[in-house]
Symmetry: C2
Subunit: 348 residues, 2 copies
Amino acid sequence: VCARGVNIAAVAAEAGVGVGTVSRVINGSAKVSPETRARVLQVIEALGYRPSALASALASGAVRAVAVLVPYLTRPSTVARLDGAVAVLEAEGYDAIVCNIKTPAQRDRALAAFADTHRAAGVLVVSIPLSAEQIGSITSAGLPVVSVDADNPGCPSLVIDNHLGGRLATEHLLGLGHRRIGFIGDAPDAQMGFRSTSRRLAGFRAALRRTPGSAGIVVTVPHGATEAAAAAVEMLGGRDPPTAIFAASDTQAIGVLHAAEKLALSVPEDLSVVGFDDIDTAGLLGLTTVRQPLERSGEQGAVHLCRRLAGGPPGPARQVLPLEMVVRSSTAPPRRSVPPPGRSRSSC
Amino acid sequence: VCARGVNIAAVAAEAGVGVGTVSRVINGSAKVSPETRARVLQVIEALGYRPSALASALASGAVRAVAVLVPYLTRPSTVARLDGAVAVLEAEGYDAIVCNIKTPAQRDRALAAFADTHRAAGVLVVSIPLSAEQIGSITSAGLPVVSVDADNPGCPSLVIDNHLGGRLATEHLLGLGHRRIGFIGDAPDAQMGFRSTSRRLAGFRAALRRTPGSAGIVVTVPHGATEAAAAAVEMLGGRDPPTAIFAASDTQAIGVLHAAEKLALSVPEDLSVVGFDDIDTAGLLGLTTVRQPLERSGEQGAVHLCRRLAGGPPGPARQVLPLEMVVRSSTAPPRRSVPPPGRSRSSC
DNA sequence: ATGAAAGCGCTAACAG
DNA sequence: CTGTTAGCGCTTTCAT
């Protein structure tokens, strides 16, 4: 069955009806008699006819595609979000045009590319900070925008409370009795302006501030397990090293775990480690972490966008997704320290 | 600057020229006088005009989008390939429509969706086995197809020699002196028909067959580090356990590494582990593995497809990408065994 | 070099 | 219910 050159006119002619009727059959318009519909359907089948999504989109002004902008496609957290978004978009009948954004130039190009070119009906922004002007450049072209994991002005945003997350992790460690705690996070990046690390760090500091006698050691490095491992080695090799390290992402926490192994420090006995995200491998490694709903954030963002595309109500401008402290086996009370309040503990 | 309602006609009118001329300017047609071009360009700028990719595609019959079909989007190897493909497609000016294929139903739906609907100019199939009929359903609609990591009939395919890969890993282990070697790979899947594991297993067996006194213990489980870890625990807990395990993917090797840790077996002293792929974390973990060019396979596949889309020559129907044994710290001679030929070794 | 006009394949409004 | 017709916004001959 070859469908080359088979268009709606050919179907109409073959079925002995008008193109309008064929169009109605395709789009499930109710105003078609059952028998006509049956005949048209049969001809469509016989000719192997497939409507051109392009022509349909042009004529109706409704493109069934959505642009998904993600930073650093290969990061586990990004992939999880993308996975969720793509699944929903597929279910809703939208093509997902994914753009991997690694530089401001790519970001700006993508933004410009989708404003007004009729390639996508809407834009889902994942983890990319954008200014009101940038969002505006899209929305003013008539495309709805929804942001996930970024608190962007001018569009609905699904976010988490990073400050709270930083506090949760730190309080868990403080609760176990740790008083010298390291923080390893992403180096502030002037390029794209990611802000998650700094907020988690603020939460970390806030928690320490409330706990007399506690101290933090902060290091920020470029993202990556290897980089984090190097930072941890340095931190743990210094004098008066921390008894616990909070890493701003699981990827970095994995680096810390690896550093500990290299230094022959056992986790959690000699060093407690807390991560952030709860990516798949965190469970396998027994990593204690602050879980955020990664896949679900992508799903929800896509759902939100689809709803707007379908002409639904705007929905909440800002939605905060829940965080959950997941305690596994990478954290424990420090070897020698004040026992955690509420538990008795003999000295060793 | 709002571009709503600004179409090529508006630009033409404002510039006092015909739409044809504007079109020529946009597409860089040489047949436009410099001054006319300048004026048109200026009006375009002033009006904030952006050509509709949709209309352009419909009129010219050339869509600037490519469908990328990937299985299990979240797997590291898939993501690496996707990353490479998306980068090339972006550079070549194509939108990447990514479809995550997890079931035969999704696969078939995607295949049908892109055949003839004018949504994509071509299809890049990543790691998905397809029949000649399935490939044909796309190509007969006029869309070129290129496969990556799948030896699909009827379209150019970029593959690796999985049998060789299995042999390389096994021979490395045999060379170190191992004689009882475990194999942990994906359970044969009737659903999608992936074949990599079985070929690697065949290579494994071939290598053992050639080595008198060697024996293999084969287990296949559903894909995943956790599943592989469980399989490894069982395998190592049995009587006469292997001194080395070859996992059919790094993800599974990581599971084995974890199992070893749980069982208090040190790697590589008590157990050698070899993986396959060389994903990012393999390096961090010091995993010995068979490296295949993941990102590059995606790149090359996209390049190949773009070339065909640009009307270039068909290129080779089948291209075998190189494999490389990457020896790190997860493999060593077994504790008690015949010393590897060629090296002398005192007993311990 | 440039304007005019005929589509690309479909949708939607309008008669009947 | 259904045929007809006018576009959607752009590309592309074909004259000029």
